[in-house]
Symmetry: C2
Subunit: 266 residues, 2 copies
């Protein structure tokens, strides 16, 4: 990479713009997301996201690594990078990408589609972890249902290790729209309940060649009536005698997605 | 509860002591832990932990709830509680308990014991989530292996929803000590590897009536040679083609613990 003098001023307008982008409202307004560190940036590049601009600190950047954007970065000082970064350890680089916008209509039609539906997931970090798990389990897409779900929040990106770029993750504000989409495709809706559902190890709820959606609700409230009505099967992960809580949403999703994988590959 | 005038001064010595206790070093020095909110405090009480003192804010406290300590709290103002609390939302009360100290020798002997071994778990919040899952899966104890593991860190307590009080969680600094303890009891050691192990759905690795430990390592480095050598079986959770990462440590633990539950109850 050819080199130009790094930006060292914390009040440089381009620096101030990125600092503003740490606010969700500003990212939405500009239609962009922030990716920090090699793993996240290289996966955004690999997923074909449009690069707006990227910043790097010469001393911190490991340019031996593959996957950085082809364009030359805007060089900045260590202090400027720290000022711009959302996370404590920006690992030498920060990039602004155009936010991909998936809708249900963009999803490819699948024979035996496999979906995770995350309903009302409050914390972006939890949603990111769930998207990562859905990618490992081989889901075709994630439906993130609810208002104000921020799939491309920096914590979601980090905890997904970039899976939110590679796996189609569709925000669906209205749950009835998500239910209708699944219904039209004949997808079996398997809803996770903390209690009162069938034992997920006893019931025969997933088969090879059948389309399936595993639906996990918010941790405290659980799934609301819309999803309970829409469910073809209601599942509960068995809980040891004497344990006071059920699993957290991310772990419940992991257990059910992989039990589905096991049943679908039998 | 009878009422006395609340502490309103942020520089009150008792307030300043609790503020100091937010540092791990100070908690270790005094041999105490901080529990905040109704769920955590009531579970510490239920687990029989020794109460040092507790503080509550009249306007914020829901004393209709069961499980608060019997002793009258020291009443404090909203501002004082916020100053003392580790988390943003202390929910009206904060308590100082004596830290329970479990060693391997304290664990009850079990016929077909079921253990989770968390090796080198860096973040207390992740360890807490794993302890919660181990409790739901019916583990008899958790072995948290590695130096400087802070099982009673406020984030561990919160993410475990108090399971760290109810489920014996033993910190074992030296891995060889943990391996020896498992060996002496004839516990099958099942080690989780991100890749290269047997497919956890193909291999017959857990049976009813057999003692079992599921060992999960730190996310980036994975399990070291000590655990690879100690493993009776090495397991890998199958990963969908094209997915770039394996599961995070907490989700990997959840999937393997519940696959063990399924196999042990067949």
């Amino acid at each position: 990479m050819t080199e130009s003098a790094p930006i060292t001023s914390l009040t440089n307008p381009r620096v101030k713009r990125v600092v503003r982008l740490r606010k969700p409202r500003e990212r939405r307004r500009e239609g962009v997301l922030l990716a920090e560190g090699h793993r996240e940036i290289s996966r955004a590049v690999a997923a074909g996201l449009g690069l707006a601009e990227w910043f790097a600190c010469r001393e911190m950047l490991d340019d031996q690594l593959d996957g950085w954007p082809e364009a030359e970065p805007t060089w900045v000082s260590r202090e400027v990078l720290a000022k711009m970064a959302y996370h404590d350890k920006p690992e030498g680089a920060l990039a602004v990408f155009e936010t991909p916008s998936f809708s249900l209509g963009d999803l490819p039609e699948r024979e035996a589609g496999f979906y995770m539906v995350a309903v009302g997931t409050e914390k972006p970090g939890n949603l990111g972890a769930m998207v990562r798990t859905a990618a490992v389990a081989g889901c075709d897409a994630v439906l993130a249902v609810g208002p104000a779900v921020d799939v491309f929040n920096p914590n979601a990106i980090r905890n997904s290790t970039g899976a939110v770029f590679a796996l189609p993750t569709v925000v669906v504000e209205d749950p009835t729209e998500a239910v209708a989409w699944l219904r039209e495709r004949g997808v079996t809706v398997a809803a996770a309940l903390a209690d009162g559902g069938a034992d997920c190890y006893q019931l025969d709820w997933a088969k090879p060649g059948e389309a399936l959606a595993v639906v996990v609700g918010p941790e405290h409230a659980g799934l609301d009536q819309t999803w309970r009505d829409a469910a073809d099967v209601k599942l509960t992960i068995p809980q040891a005698a004497g344990s006071t809580d059920s699993l957290n949403a991310s772990n419940a999703a992991a257990v059910l997605l992989f039990e589905a994988v096991r049943r679908r590959s039998c």
